[in-house]
Symmetry: C2
Subunit: 153 residues, 2 copies
DNA sequence: GTACTTGCAAACTGTTTGCACATCA
DNA sequence: TGATGTGCAAACAGTTTGCAAGTAC
């Protein structure tokens, strides 16, 4: 498995189509801005923050506004279509909500993010549920360090 | 192990003394504000954010300013005495840097935080180091859900 | 046509900074 | 006494909101 192994993208199909489907399934209108935003998040090989999505969006639609980006990101989050990530930074990053739960390994030098899954995380959750009686609803595991390329520096 | 099991506080001793020791060990002056701040973070049974620490600090020293809180929090963080936590929220929480690495289990309803350690986390790190060639420098594991008391609701 | 969305500008929140005064070593 | 630290106010960054105009259904 290469270290560039971002978890495979959803089989594309027609992303505009699926954007429309996703939105109408929750009674939201499929505006061009929303379709564009969903495409960008889906295509993005990384995990983008709002200003970055704004920058990309303006390349395709120069009239789009930053508040539209924010409004739609929180709508998509509320609807459960995307995840908001909180690395050890001030702002948020977004990703399409993955089918399988996964976690993040961030290179603090080049910013590259690797997603991973591990059976150990399930064991951890089970252990905690048993030990503390919690009903666990969300799990964030974010490790950071230097990737093989940046370790030399 | 009770569910109120916040990891035991450092054997206190004299917290003012140790504050002074901590600060002078890195060539920083032990001002009353810093001593107070360190005491508050140490005493706090939870993980407080800056505005909360400010509120508490003003009860003891009404003239203290919020920027002093921020300045000293980032100094203490830079010196490695405290950790900055990023739950899935906008602002930061702080805790005295623990001897043993530990992680967090947050109740989303009452805000109660349980700290835990688990050998599984070491296995996870080892697995990732091996699989992706990373040198891991920081690990954040934050789970959230409902604690036994709040689960009924 | 009408309710939902957008763009814009202005407001807000958490945090940082410049500067004159105060204080610890 | 001189470097370090504080308080205050003003600046910032990221994000949210009110409102009039625009658009999907």
């Amino acid at each position: 498995m290469s270290k560039r192994s971002i978890v495979a993208q959803e089989e594309q199909g027609g992303s505009k189509e699926s954007a429309k489907g996703i939105l109408s399934s929750v009674g939201r209108r499929a505006t061009s801005q929303r379709t564009l935003l969903l495409e960008l998040i889906r295509e993005a090989q990384g995990h983008l923050d709002a200003p970055e999505l704004y920058r990309l969006a303006r390349e395709k639609d120069p009239r789009i506004s930053l508040s539209t980006i924010y409004r739609n990101l929180s709508m998509l989050k509320a609807m459960g279509f995307i995840n908001e990530l909180h690395f050890a930074e001030e702002h948020h990053h977004y990703e399409i909500k993955p089918q399988a739960e996964h976690f993040h390994l961030l290179c603090v030098r080049c910013g590259h993010v690797i997603e991973f899954e591990s059976p150990l995380t399930e064991s951890l959750k089970a252990e905690l549920t048993k030990r503390h009686g919690f009903t666990i609803t969300s799990t964030a595991i974010d490790l950071a360090g230097f990737c093989p390329d940046c370790r030399g520096e």
